[in-house]
Symmetry: C2
DNA sequence: ACAAAAGTTCCAAATAATGGAACATGATAT
DNA sequence: ATATCATGTTCCATTATTTGGAACTTTTGT
């Protein structure tokens, strides 16, 4: 799923191991990692030791497994708080959640995928990293398509050239052309829809967030399930959604000038 | 605040830079980091370049500043979800928040400090003090003292030998002896109190979480402010607090055997 | 008790990191 | 406009770190 050797020397190799552990998604044994890693035994062993010493991995001596360490949680909190988008969007998301009674997502692109930065449910008031930090493919989510449709060709290629258009449901567009065919309409209408393209029964309507200079920096979406809402129901929220995205963009412009 | 050279070669040095950026807490310029870092200009420059390529840092070309990158958010989400404590504690925290009407914190020790792993509030009225991933000193917080009082001498030394007992409020115990004087009572009573020792106006009652083998693995607390509750009010919740901590510990025991 | 697998250590060779110094860029003053 | 200073970037011979095959130890399975 991730690209080839990212290069960047020893540090890059070490960080790739973190991704590997994250992707497996459960505590892993040394031998499990050894199969997947390009490194010989001794090299991998030393990396794991270093990362564990550093708190980036946690070693469970009883079960002899490695999992991701708490230092990441600490750092990510700062990353989130320093982000120019998430903290200031918070209040707007909450307002929209209350107004619609549905779940609101805030997402950005990261490395060709959609990264959920925040999530707000009207019925449920906890915040945690469990909700932020999830990733999803861009080609089959509302927020993903809302962002992709407004990228310059260069940024689009950089994001998607190494991605595969996996088919998750019968509605997923699993080719680049199939996805791009929607872009004109998304740009014209101002919102993108997810019509059960990522998960059966889950639909969403998403609006891109722009800086004042017109660059897409993220997207927000109203997410629901077919059992509760129809796509038409969500369409009714379009004005509020677009307005909220506009407000967030305006506030973010004072802060954010992405390279 | 953090210790001396952590060693661990090139990877360790690179990760130290992330901590440095996190500690500063705002986007930083190259020259700001140069002052604080032990590295010469060219070396630091290369580290920042590598970390930026890797997505651990984000470079803002317009303002020429570095901040922590989104890759950390992605990884931390997995770290949280893989953690043996946080996901399973979730429901218990929520129940306690509803029952008490106050904010509930879940915390673990990390590197001599208290790391807040999850947080649950019953109402939206107040902006929360600590979000997941936030850190605080151990010696002056309820959760910190609840954990410290039940550490073995070896684990206590490992955790606290490099910590300074900073004084935050007039109530803070700013010596090791002052903090340890409370430990007998904490162990006898089963809970620790924060009597405005970290922040004026903020109080809490905290209970340690044990595995079935009797090892402390974290703590939960009920947090309030002096304007809403007295310490006696919180004490009234002691039975529920201890019971909840017990449940979490029992469930965690099936999973967690820390090294 | 034995064999096989998994995990750990060692060290000479290979490689990547280092940092002083030169070079570029941009801001501010003259 | 030109000089001056501060900041950021590149170069490359030297140096220090990483590398990984192989030997060794421990654990697991039969």
């Amino acid at each position: 799923m991730n690209k080839q050797a990212s290069g960047d020397g020893t540090v890059g190799k070490a960080l790739d191991i973190l991704d590997m552990v994250a992707e497996i998604g459960r505590p892993v044994r040394f031998s499990d990692l050894l199969e997947q890693s390009p490194h010989p035994k001794a090299t991998l062993y030393r990396f794991l030791q270093t990362l564990t010493n550093q708190g980036m991995l946690k070693y469970d001596g009883e079960r002899q497994t490695y999992s991701l360490g708490l230092r990441l949680v600490r750092l990510a909190h700062q990353a989130w708080a320093q982000s120019s988008l998430a903290p200031l969007a918070r209040l707007h998301l909450e307002a929209l959640a209350v107004e619609t009674g549905e779940t609101i997502h805030l997402a950005q692109m990261e490395n060709g995928q959609v990264l959920f930065i925040d999530k707000c449910r009207s019925s449920n008031r906890f915040d945690t990293l469990a909700q932020a930090g999830r990733i999803a493919p861009a080609h089959c989510t509302g927020v993903g398509k809302a962002i992709l449709a407004h990228l310059t060709p260069e940024r689009f290629d950089r994001a998607m050239s190494h991605q595969t258009y996996l088919k998750f449901t019968s509605a997923t567009h699993d080719t680049a052309d199939g996805v791009m065919a929607e872009f004109d309409q998304i740009r014209a209408e101002g919102v993108a829809y997810d019509r059960e393209e990522h998960e059966d029964g889950i639909i969403s309507i998403a609006a891109p967030i722009f800086t004042q200079s017109g660059r897409v920096i993220g997207a927000i979406s109203i997410v629901s399930s077919t059992s509760r809402r129809s796509l038409e129901d969500l369409t009714a929220f379009k004005p509020q959604l677009i307005e909220t995205a506009g407000k967030i963009g305006a506030e973010a412009s004072a802060w954010q000038f992405p390279s």
